[in-house]
Structures are given as C-alpha cells and as structure tokens.
Symmetry: D2
Amino acid sequence: MLILMHPTASTEEVDAVAEKVRTLGYVPHKMPGAQRIAVAITGNHGPVDPAHFSHLPDVVEAVSITKPWKLASRETHPHDTVISIKTPTATVASILGGGTFAVIGGPCAVETREYTLTAARAVKAAGGQFLRGGAYKPRTSPYAFQGTKVDGLKLLAEARAETGLPVVTEVLDTAHVEIVAEYADILQIGTRNAQNFALLEAVSQVRKPVLLKRGMSSTIQEFLMAAEYIVKGGNYQVIMCERGIRTFEPMTRNTLDLGSIPLIKRLTHLPVVVDPSHATGDSLLVRPMARAALAAGADGIMVDVHPEPEKALCDGPQSLRPHEFAELMDQLRAMAEVLKVQMP
Amino acid sequence: MLILMHPTASTEEVDAVAEKVRTLGYVPHKMPGAQRIAVAITGNHGPVDPAHFSHLPDVVEAVSITKPWKLASRETHPHDTVISIKTPTATVASILGGGTFAVIGGPCAVETREYTLTAARAVKAAGGQFLRGGAYKPRTSPYAFQGTKVDGLKLLAEARAETGLPVVTEVLDTAHVEIVAEYADILQIGTRNAQNFALLEAVSQVRKPVLLKRGMSSTIQEFLMAAEYIVKGGNYQVIMCERGIRTFEPMTRNTLDLGSIPLIKRLTHLPVVVDPSHATGDSLLVRPMARAALAAGADGIMVDVHPEPEKALCDGPQSLRPHEFAELMDQLRAMAEVLKVQMP
Amino acid sequence: MLILMHPTASTEEVDAVAEKVRTLGYVPHKMPGAQRIAVAITGNHGPVDPAHFSHLPDVVEAVSITKPWKLASRETHPHDTVISIKTPTATVASILGGGTFAVIGGPCAVETREYTLTAARAVKAAGGQFLRGGAYKPRTSPYAFQGTKVDGLKLLAEARAETGLPVVTEVLDTAHVEIVAEYADILQIGTRNAQNFALLEAVSQVRKPVLLKRGMSSTIQEFLMAAEYIVKGGNYQVIMCERGIRTFEPMTRNTLDLGSIPLIKRLTHLPVVVDPSHATGDSLLVRPMARAALAAGADGIMVDVHPEPEKALCDGPQSLRPHEFAELMDQLRAMAEVLKVQMP
Amino acid sequence: MLILMHPTASTEEVDAVAEKVRTLGYVPHKMPGAQRIAVAITGNHGPVDPAHFSHLPDVVEAVSITKPWKLASRETHPHDTVISIKTPTATVASILGGGTFAVIGGPCAVETREYTLTAARAVKAAGGQFLRGGAYKPRTSPYAFQGTKVDGLKLLAEARAETGLPVVTEVLDTAHVEIVAEYADILQIGTRNAQNFALLEAVSQVRKPVLLKRGMSSTIQEFLMAAEYIVKGGNYQVIMCERGIRTFEPMTRNTLDLGSIPLIKRLTHLPVVVDPSHATGDSLLVRPMARAALAAGADGIMVDVHPEPEKALCDGPQSLRPHEFAELMDQLRAMAEVLKVQMP
C-alpha cells in the first residue's frame, strides 16, 4: 500500500500519516520526491483499508503496490535513485544513477601497496569515478589466497586519500560489516552472498551505499527481493550489479545477461551497473561487453584494472592493463555522447 | 592439416596439391586469399605426414589445424568471410560481414500480402539491407499457426522485387530445401534444427548463403560444429546467428549471450549476427539489445518488424512498429560512426 | 473438448458424434476404453458449444480439455497406453506400459555383424525385451562416424529374427522414415530432433510405435507438445524417454531428471522410459540410475550394451558389458518384486 | 601430499611425522584407519619432497593427492566416514553412513509446540532416526515468515528429549553458530549459504557434525570444495546433501540430480543424503524420489513431515503427512532389504 500526498504536504501532515500507519501495527516508509510525496506501508498481511487515510490532510489517494519488491519498485518511487559521494580529497562528487554512466575500476584483489596505488592512479587518470578492490576474498578453494583483509582496507583508504576516488569493497560476513564500513564508501555484497539474508540485513543497518551483485543463479525477481531486504532495513542506497549467470556454456566463466538491464531498470528505481570482468573472465571480452553495457542502458560498469595482470594473485586473465582501460574509457565517452548519457 | 602455398601459386600448382590429397584418400578444400593460398584437408583420422607435400611447387609449409571446426576456423581462413547479394531490382549489393553492420528486418511470419509489403517497405525506407519473414514456421504446439508455406514464399519474392532487398527465410525440413532455395536469397536454419544434421547437410549442397541460428542449448563449440557441417559440404557462405540460450531466468524468453559475439569472431571467419527479437520476446528490450549487439562487435542484427504487432499471428509482443524500427536505425547509424563500423 | 459416451454406445452412435464434429469443421479422435468411450475434438479455436452433442444418443457429457497437449493428456484418456509387439520369431509379445517394467538393451551404434548379434543375444539371455541399436547416428562433428545406415538396419533385422526381440532404432530425417520403418519395430526420435516438427509429423503417419526422447533443453511441457504432434497425426503409440537435460554441471554428460517421471505419468497416459546411458555417459553411473528409474516409477529403461565397450565406435564409456547387464537385470527383478511391478 | 604409515605405527611415530610437517611450515592432518594410518599435508604451494619423510620410522610411502578437495577425497581416506549420535534419552545411537540408510524427518519450519512434537513422534514411530526442523529460516522475501529462532531451538530440544532423536537444524549466520550449536546435534548449512565461506569456516570450528546442502548452482566440484572448507578447519563430520539444482524446467522447484550420488560417493568418503522435499516442492514427487535416492545409493534422505501440511507456514505443499511418511518408510525398508542396505 502506498499513500500518495500533495507535493506541498507539510512535514507534520506526512508524520500524521506515518503515525496512523504505526497505530495500525504496520511500518511506514517516507518516500519524498519532487512531483509527489508518498508513504509506503510494509508489515501488513493482506490488504489495508484505504479509508484509514482518506480523511487525513493532503492525502490524495491510497494505491496498492503490485510487486513483491515493494520499496524497491518503480511504482513506489518513480524517479531514479542517484548515489553521490564526495570524499574529503575530491574536488567533485562521484555520481552513480540518474542519467550518468559511472566507471568503477581497480584490482580484483588488493595485494601490494604499489599495485593498489598504481591501479588507483590509472583509474583516476583515465576518468574513472570509483575505486574497486577486494580485501576480503571469497574463494572456491580454502587453499587459495583469501585476501589481505584489514591491511587491504587500509591500502584502499590510502589510495582514496591520494586520488579522491570513493572506495567499493566487499564484505563477506556480518562480523566484518563494522570494520569494512569504517573504511569503505560503498559496501559490496558478492554473488555467493546474494541470498545471505543475515548479511543483507546487516548492511541494511549501515548508512553507506551497498553494491549488490546478482547471484549467479538468482532470477531477476530474487535479485530484486535481495535488494528489498536492504531497502526494507532503511538503507535506500542500493546499486544493482549484473555480473553474469550460470549456464551450460563452458567457454565463458558465466553468461552476462545484458537483457536484464532494461528489464531491471523498468522494475526498480535503483541504479544498475554491469561487471564484465567477472562475467566473462577474459580481458578480450571485457571491452566489447563494457561497450555493450553502456549501449544496453546500464548506469555504469565495474572493471578489473591491474598494472601487471600476469602477476595478479586473483583473476589476472580478466584484468585490463592501465592503457587498455584508458582506451576503453575513450571509446565509452565517444559512445556516451551519441547515446546522450552524461559521462564526466 | 592445412597446406599453405605462396600467394603467387598457379591454379595448376594448387590443383596438384589437391590431387595429392585425393590420392591419399582425403578431401581437399581450396582456400584462396589475398595474403596466402591454402588447401585444407579433411577426411583424415590422425595426423597426415607433411612430407607428402613439402616437395610440391610453391608449397610453403604444412600446419595442423587445432580446432575441431577445421574449415570454419580462423586458423584455416584468417580473413572475414563477406556475403554480398545483389538482387535483380537492387541498385547496390547488400553486404554482410567484413566490417559493416547489416540489418535484417521483417515480420516474424509472412501473413497477408499487405502486411508483408508494408513491412518490407518500412525496412527498406529505414535503411535495412535484408528482408526476413517466415513462411514455414516451427511451432511448439501442433494446433498453432504453422505458416503460409509456398504462398508465403511468393509474397516474399514479390516484396523483394519491389524493394530490391534479398530475402532470408527459414527451411524446416530436407524435403523443403529445393522449394525454399528457389525463392530465398538466404536460407535460415532455426534454433530447433541447430543439430538437425540431415538438414545441415542438405543446405550444404545449396549454392545460397545459410543463416544458422544457435541452438537454444548449443554450446559455442556445438554451434561452430553445426557450421562446419555446412562448410564441409562445400557451402562456405554461413552466417552465425546468436539468438539467446535457455537458462533458469523466466522473465525473458531466453538469455541473449552477447559475450559469445567477440568469442565466436575470434574462433571463426564467418560473420555473426544477433536476433534480439527472439532472444528477449519483448519489444521494449529489442532496442537496447540491438544497440548492445553493435557495441559488442556483431556484424549485424535480425529484427522483427510488423505494421500492427498487436494483430500478428506469431510473436507480436517482440515486433517493432515501422517508426520504432526507423528510430532504432538512426541510433545504430550514430553509434556505428563512433565505433568506426560501416553502415549504409 | 471431449465428448464422453456410455461404455455401451454402439459403433454407429460413436460415428454419429464423430460425423457431427466433422460437420462443425473440426477433427474427431475416437478414444475407446473399458470404462468409457470418448471422442476428442481438435482443430477448434476457442470453445465448442456442448449443445451440439447433448441430444445425440448415448452422449453423457461434453467436457473441456484444460491441457494444451489435448490428446496425450490423462484427462482425455485416463488409462495407461500399453504397447505390445510380437515379432514373427518371438514366443510372447514384448510389452511396454501398464504396470510392467521393460528393458531395451543393445549397442549405441550398429557396427559389425558379430558385435550386433553378440549384444542382442546378451540382451535376450538376461531377460531384456527390446533390442536397441543406431544405424543412422547424429554426431556433433561431421568428421565423426555417422553410422552404418541401411546395412545397420539389415543387421538389426537379422538380430531380431534370431532373438525375437523387437527393434528400436533412430530415424534422423523425413527422407529416411520409410526405409527405417521398413526394418524397425519402434522408431526412435533423438534428443536433437525433439522439436524437428517435420519429422514428428512424418512419424505420426507411420503405423509403428515411436520412442520420443526429451530434448536436452525441452521443458516437460514442450516434451508433451512434441508427443502431441505425433498423436495428433493419428499415431497413439508414443513412448516418452527421459534422457537427461542440459545444465551447468560438467561432471556428467547431462543431468538425468528423474523427478520428471512421476510428473509426466500424472500428465499423460503414454508410457515413460529412462535412458541412463546417454544421460550420464559413464557406465559406473548407469546401474544406480537404472535402479533409481525403476524406483521412481518409470515403465522401463533403455541401456547401452556392448560386448567390448573399449572398442566401440560411439559412446563406449557408457556401455555395459554383457555380464554387467545381466547383474543389473537380476537387481531390477528383485526390486520390481518389492515394488509390485511386473517384470518378465 | 599424503604420508602413509604402517597400521601398527605408534602414536609417537605419527606425532613425529606431524611435527616434521609443521617444521616445514605446513599443516598436518592425522587420518587414522583400520588398514592404514595416514598424515595428510595442507598449506603447501607446489609439491613437497617425499625425502623429508622416507627415513622416519614406520613411514611406508609419500603419495600426492590429485584432487583439490584434499582431505575430503577418497584418496586420502578410503573408508566411509560414519556419523553416530546417541542423545541422552535414546536407547541406541542414530547412524549415518557406512552402509546404512538413515531417514531424517520433521517439519520444514518449527512453528507451534504441538506441531513440532506431533511431527517428531510421527518420525520416531515410523522408524526415522533424526529430527529436522528449521528455527532460523532463509526466505526470498523479507516480508515472509522468518522462523521462530531461539524459541524454535528450545522446542526442538524438547522434542529430542521426548523422542531421543538427534536434531538437525539450520544456521544462517556466523553470529548464530554458538547458540545453534548449543541446541542442535547436527548443524545444517542451507543451499543459499553453500558458498558462504565465513559460515563454513565458523562451523568447521564446532565439534558437531554439519549437514551441508549443495548450492542450487554449485557444481559437484564446488560442493566438494565447500566440504573441504569444513574438513580443513578440523571438523571431519560432514554430511553432503543433494537437494536439486537450478535448471530451465519450471514444473519442479529444482531438478534433483540423483546422478551426483554415485559420483560424489566415488570422490569423497563423506556420507551423502538426498532432500527430495526441497528439490521437488511437491509431496506427490517426494515418495518416488525418496525411493530413487535409496536405489541410487544414497546414505539417507531428509524429508519434510508435517501434521497438517495445508496449514504450514512454510513449504506445506511438499510435506508428507504422518501416515504418508510411515507408508514411505515401509517401502524403503522393503527395498533396503533387497538392496542389502542396513535400515533400522
């Protein structure tokens, strides 16, 4: 249920609606907007009688929400969610969503200080807006490199201080949310944790954006429901990330589902980015898929960049070298102009 | 095994190599080219001794072919195969492959004369280069519309005569190859017949190009092996068509695998096109996926165009209206310029 | 629509109903049975008015058929279809369906006379009821062994004459239906032709049973619709064969979907058999999966048996040796007794 | 690397080998057995020189381990791992693995005290050996019933006290491991946490068996690597649970991969059970799939049992009623006798 109010409704009038929702035993969610103000209701089982609200001042109408991802749906919030982060050393904010195309670049895993800073500088120099890097690494084998953990977080913070780029890094467990949130600007939930509901609830309590990867076997509906876990907890800053799904095809690591991009953008107000590096696992495919993501309407991409891919401890074969990344950025900028998409 | 010869080798010298191959009990395939001349050998089980050829005039070297799709592989024929068709009423040839981006448009199924001609004119007017339309329709249900068959082929021929556009149409059975080849410029093999080997052999004997759709559960290797059936039979004019694969995702009809485009182009010299209409089943997704196909490096797209999609007997929801198709063509042309791809 | 009649209705009365159906422009299908007589109607678009039939003698009621596989559905024909074949040299008929568990065994491909006869004798000796063997072989590579064709059919006929076992063999193309039907007792449609609708229509015109394999990417609904193509053409003797579907798992050739067995048996009156050999591709998995098929309620299995699997030209690794097959038969007979299933 | 020792080697001699491993900077894992004693080595990158060990007393030989799931592999530990639990109120231990067929039954979710006790009594009465029930429930929607949590754990403990059945219950998050381990006899890791490596490491530190469900998109190799995370941490009591994988088929919730059972048992010494309830989501399919699991060689099954499935808060349609469960148990016992499997 969504209670729509006049855009001129006062704070007190909106509070009165929210209070009424609480009185009925449900949870109110205020949804401010330029064209309209809305209060979404969750916690109800079955329909809520609109008559409870129709007499309250400045209420226009009560409409039901048809999608199970209530708060994440376009019905509830028709305008694009925009995520804007300005780090202390940045001159301008990095923007994701709302008609811009943002590029997140950096090493798959944070390894040495030199690699991390070199990669960060390359991303910055080529016009990337966010720095990625994994400090906590989920690995299929318990014998594989498991990440540099807190040391890695500190290196990312140093790279941010130097470049001004906000940092995206993965959190693997509820027990690490606090420490990762201390260093990260955006918390990443990986594909293997896409339905780790305890972790989704934990990051819903953090006041930092979350980049949520699609589970490699998640349907689009399940992906949206995972986002709903985070939004329901009060964290509206969720970035959806398509990163390929598991299919029968063995020649690529996963099958990048670019058809999901326009579909997800129709169904939710949250921004959608694409990770062509992890989807394909092959640097020769990363560039065509990055261009295709822009052409398909994505709000951005997340790309592995490494100074020496052949020496990377994790996912080297899919990493772009700095000059390859810079060439890709040039291509994307030229395309963005034609497609009438903002790209700084 | 591939016998490489000097580009200046004479016809007699090439014939001598081919004759030697036949003497050994194998099958020779002449592969002319600007930079080199090659004779590929098939029919051998196990390695062939290069010494058989080294003494023949103008033979440079004998190299083994590592891929099981011997004749379709880039190793055997490094340059792009280009398909060029000029119908009697056309002023210029329609080109597919070799650095151009070709658009094949038209109704999913050939229904009435009026619809067919209207769609063909719309495709021509907007700059499309080939006309598609199904006369023989493979349908999951035996109770669904099965196509207009020979009447449909005649309507397509009439539309070709008026517009000059070469016609692409599907053949479902070996028994229909002759009649379809009489009317069609390009024979289409559908996704459900992607491993109908008798049909692949039958079209390998026709001297017209074949548009081969990827099976909805074919791996890329199986797709290339299906092409090899056609090329082995002597028909080198094969167009690979990515049209989506079957996955667990229910919100789109199939999952368009755009990552396959750069991969297939690396593995074969044959041109690759994308069918965003059948992959997604949703006209709102067709345009972003058409743009993404161009950005991913495809040699063209095949798109359903119908004057009144809501009245179509087959696949209406995925068809573009003429003005939507024209808008898409404008976008593609603008993108093609930036991507340095030819588009007439 | 299904017109239900008294079990005592006369031939003339049933003919009168069928004639009425024809008069209305539809196609009648007589469905005799012990408990009831029914006439199914196909060819209608939209509902048929029951009033057309209610006044005819011995008509009980007219009910609509809810499933799209009209004639193959349990609604239309509640009793199990039973297929019974007695070859000239057999002492008793081989039975498939209706509470028995039938075993079809033999080589994947018909190779030499000796192998074929040895395998057939082993199948007969161990209590198998049908002989399988491929004379026309669908192969992913055009360079792989393509079968012994008509020579193979003749060897199968010789093996049938000696053992009395009815022969199951694959037909790949409409052009071969006549010759294969001349030799075979049951025509097999392979997984790659599961939606080759021209071939399904061709075998619907033959008066011999058809063993229809599930497409490796066919849903259960598509599998039933493929059967409907054959039944609609007038051939009610269709055997459904689950042979594994294509999934992301690389350790087995395909994923055998045994859950489909009870589901398909609920939805259709046609018998269902399982091919554990082609599903797994591994003789060590064939036996547990054969036992599981019986436990899951299948009407039979089809198993590769070869005297010397290590020398087989096709699918050796999945073939059982004669003594392994005999041991499996003993296990199945012991299980069948406990499960109260007939096994000769 | 595996150091094989004489079965008569003394504790001191085994300790000497382990100490040598530590000296080299690696981790030793003692693997006692009736026929042989072995010390496995992990933590090495690249091969270890066998000469380090050949001179130590009672060392027979040093062999390399070829599988990446080193400690879980049959190579390292050829004999079946057997899990045996005797609760204080039980007269005999409940056994899983090593030639017995164990049945784990109970409600999907722990709801009321009455339902839980009724279900537990039904499981006990019919001969089930373990009680299942979810107190913490992973749900796709944040608005769905999330489980009774600690209250549920207490109800399970009460049911255990009354029936003597050991309790299997799910743990969703590292933060809950301690409380769940306090009440549970076996900790369950659900399919959505199959690659939640932080959780796998947490349960590897608990001295209670772990029932590990296969991820719905995990390959068999990934499934084994997940088990390796637990075994590597020192917890050798892992039960593998096949519960269906995600495929394109929409008529069943997932596709139960019974072919994985003989394969996994060949590759690991850990016991393997099957969950036909969650795989199919349909109580009519549960019984045939339970029988098929036994026939395929599984070490047991886990089945949803609920006194009133139509009122269940979670997964009612897949739950067996007590009398259906009892009938199934009778069938399984009859089959087990024929298959020469122990079933109490």
